[in-house]
Point group: C2
Chain length 293, copies 2
C-alpha cells in the first residue's frame, strides 16, 4: 500500500510516496511559488500513484480545527498568494482519499517518535530553529493539538545581560524567535550563523535562549525526548551551551537522570535528518487512512 505526503514549506515543497514500513518510494522537491503553480507540481508528482491517503505537514499558522469554516487553510503568512489559501479544500477536490493536515513540525515530531530519535517513546518534542522557530510535539502517541496547533517559537525568555539587540519578531519583538532565530543572529552579529561558527559568544548566547525555552517545554510538557533541528542547529557547537544552561536553570528540580546525567541523550539532533517533515506527513496520512477503516 502506498501513502502520499507533502511537506509544504514557505521556501520549498517536498512531495513523497512511502510504503507501509516508512520506505520512501519516490521523492521530489520544488520551490514554493504562487499556490496554483505549486499545486500543479504536486498533482503532477502524484499522478501515477494509487494512494491510500495523503498527509500534509504545512508551514503555518494554519487552521487545523475540523469544525472551523476555514479548516485546512493557511491563515496568515507574508508569503504572496498563500494567505487564506484553502489548501485542504484544493486537495479534496482532486483526491477522493483520506487526507490529513497539520503543521510541518507536528509531522516531524510524529516521524521522530515513530522512526527517529524518539522511537520507542510515546512523547517527544521537535523544535526547528531556522528562519523562524517552531515546534511540534507528540503526546501519548498523538500529535499535540488543542484549540489549535502549538506556536512554541514565540514564548517569552529573559534577555541575556550582554544582549543589546532589540529583537526581530513583528509581534513580540524579543520573544524566543525574535532573539534566537537565524535572522536575529544575523542582525545582531552582522553575519549569518554559519559564518560565525568560531565565535563562542554567539553560541553561548544562543544556548542561553534555547535553554530557557527548553526549560519551559520540559516543565509544561515533560517530553521523553527533545529533538533540535533546523538550519541553526547544524552548528553543533551550540549544544554544550544548551545542556549547561538547561541544567543550571532547572537546578535539579526535575529529578530525572535524563536531565541530570544523560542530557546528551535527552536533547538530541533529529534521527531522520531533514526527512522528518516529509516522513511525518506520510505518517499522518497513513493514520487518517487507518482511522477510516
Amino acid at each position: 500500500m502506498l501513502y502520499g505526503g507533502i511537506e509544504a514549506g514557505g521556501t520549498k515543497f517536498v512531495c513523497a510516496v512511502g510504503d507501509e514500513s516508512g520506505n520512501i518510494v519516490k521523492r521530489d522537491q520544488f520551490p514554493t511559488t504562487l499556490p496554483e503553480e505549486t499545486m500543479q507540481y504536486v498533482f503532477e508528482f502524484f499522478k501515477d500513484f494509487e494512494l491510500k491517503s495523503l498527509g500534509v505537514g504545512s508551514f503555518g499558522p494554519i487552521d487545523i480545527n475540523p469544525n472551523s469554516l476555514t479548516y485546512g487553510s493557511i491563515t496568515s503568512t507574508p508569503k504572496k498568494g498563500w494567505k487564506d489559501y484553502p489548501f485542504l479544500k484544493t486537495l479534496k477536490a482532486s483526491y477522493d482519499i483520506p487526507l490529513a493536515f497539520n503543521t510541518d513540525v507536528n509531522a516531524a515530531a510524529l516521524a521522530e517518535a515513530t522512526f527517529g530519535a524518539a522511537k520507542g517513546f510515546d512523547s517527544c518534542l521537535y523544535i526547528t530553529v531556522g528562519t523562524g522557530i517552531g515546534a511540534g510535539a507528540v503526546v501519548q502517541g498523538n500529535v499535540l493539538q488543542g484549540m489549535s496547533h502549538p506556536e512554541m517559537g514565540h514564548i517569552i525568555v529573559r534577555r541575556h545581560e550582554q544582549d543589546t539587540y532589540e529583537g526581530s519578531c513583528l509581534y513580540h519583538k524579543d520573544c524566543l524567535e525574535g532573539l534566537a532565530a537565524g535572522p536575529a543572529i544575523k542582525e545582531r552579529w552582522g553575519k549569518a550563523g554559519v559564518d560565525l561558527a568560531d565565535n563562542k559568544d554567539v553560541w553561548e548566547m544562543e544556548g542561553f535562549y534555547l535553554a530557557q525555552a527548553l526549560m519551559q517545554y520540559i516543565l509544561i510538557l515533560s517530553p521523553n525526548k527533545i529533538i533540535l533541528g533546523g538550519g541553526v542547529m547544524k552548528q553543533k557547537q551550540v549544544f554544550p551551551y544548551v545542556f549547561e544552561y538547561v541544567k543550571l536553570l532547572l537546578n535539579d528540580y526535575v529529578p530525572f537522570p535524563e536531565v541530570s546525567t544523560n542530557i546528551e541523550e535527552y536533547i538530541v539532533s533529529p534521527g531522520l535528518g531533514d526527512n522528518a517533515g516529509i516522513m511525518g506527513s506520510i505518517l499522518m496520512g497513513k493514520q487518517a487512512y487507518q482511522e477510516q477503516l
Copy 2:
C-alpha cells in the same frame, strides 16, 4: 456502581465516593498528618463501600511512570513522613480493584473538562495558585503525561520592573511560583493576599506574572479553556489584570476570538469550585475501571 476518590493534599485529605454520573454519595476530609495515621482514616472512610475502583489525585512531585520501580510514590516533599512514601503500593495491599494515581491538578483538569468549566472541550488547563503554583492539563481527552507530570508552576517569567522582591522558590528563586504564589505575595507586601484586596499594585503585579505564564501555556498547549483556581484566585480583582496582560503580550499573534474578544470566557474560575480535585480523582478511578473491562 460506585467509585472512590482521594484528593491527597499536603494540608488535608479529601475522600469521596461517587456514582457513575459524578454525584458524590459520601465525602469527608481530615488533616494530613503522618502517612500511617492519615491512611487509617482513608481505610476507615471507604470500609462500608464496594468500590469498582479508586483514583488518587495527589500532591507532588510524584512518580507516575508505570515502568518505574517507585511508581506511585511521592518523590520529594518537605512534608514529614511523605518523602518516598509508596502511596499506590499501600493502597494495592488493601484494595484488589483498579487504581489510578496522578497529580491533584491533573485530576482537577479532568473533572473540569468532564463536568465543569471546560465541559464539551477535549482540552483544558487547570492552574491552582495558592501555597504553591501547580497546573494540570487535559489534551485530546486525556490527562497530560509525558516522562512525568507537568511542573508548570516553576516556569521562567520576566520580572516586573517595580518588583524588588527576590523570590521564594527554593530551586529557582524567582520563577513563577517564587514570585506569584501566596507566600511570595505575603513576603513581598508584608500581608497575606486576602488582606490586600484593595491594593491595586498587588493585583496588577500578580496579573503581570500570571499572564506571562498563561501566554507560555497558550503558545505551548493551545488549551480550549484555562481555569484558574486556588486560594489566591479567590481575589477576583486580579482577573482583569490577567486579561489585559495576556492580550498585550500575545499582541494578536494567536488569531482566536477566544483570546481577542471573549477572553473573559476563555480564562475562567473553576466550574466545580473546590470540588474539582476530588471529582477528578473519582473520574480517574472510573477510567481505570473501564480500561480493564
